[in-house]
Symmetry: C2
Subunit: 129 residues, 2 copies
């Protein structure tokens, strides 16, 4: 039996994957995988996900070139979340930030602040179709 | 309008929260919040969640004393995932490990290995009812 058989997928056959940059510990993004995208991730060594909105597989970086090289895969005590450590080429966020979590909340007054520099201009990476 | 109004909750009114130890960068756990548990988290400075299996609010550490002191709250570009940096008292995992992600997969052969030390004996923390 494969370790994948021990995972608990939700009613749509999906499991959330937390993507963490191995070198910095920064949490880059969270996206959803199904059984096949986990297998594609292991076979290729690059993260593959299932898009709930587009109902299709996607490889991170397929358009931008900002792929994620898989370094480690872990799963939690309930076996219903994956944690994947990666080497991030370029940036993780389609808005040009290294991490998708670029907005932080001031805990005292609820104000939202940008917590990182924008490293690239999305218009340079994602061509208009 | 509060920043909470800008979040995208799922059809059950829930949003996943990635909990990260501020001092080490370790991802400790992922659990679900609804609007009220986010408000409880901010008001008390300690993480509160919504249990999908028990259909009730719970504060991390309510039984074990292993609470999480909130240091930073961020959210991602799609506004459908929270990242919360905390100071973890004791351990995050009810199985006695610091992080719930204590099992890693060997990418070559699929073997599962424990990647951390068990720091406490769960039987000492969770009393039988």
């Amino acid at each position: 039996m494969s370790w994948i058989d021990t995972l608990k997928f939700d009613s749509n056959g999906l499991i959330p994957a937390v993507i963490q940059e191995e070198s910095t510990g920064n949490v880059l993004m969270v996206a959803w995988m199904n059984r096949q995208s986990i297998e594609m991730t292991i076979q290729t060594g690059k993260t593959h996900f299932w898009s709930r909105s587009r109902q299709k597989y996607w490889m991170k970086g397929e358009e931008s070139g900002h792929v994620q090289i898989v370094k480690e895969i872990s799963f939690d005590c309930d076996a219903d979340v994956l944690l994947i450590k990666v080497e991030q080429k370029g940036v993780a966020c389609h808005e040009g930030y290294k991490s998708c979590f670029f907005r932080s909340v001031d805990l005292k007054n609820g104000e939202v602040k940008i917590n990182q520099e924008r490293l690239i201009n999305p218009a340079d990476v994602y061509k208009k179709k």
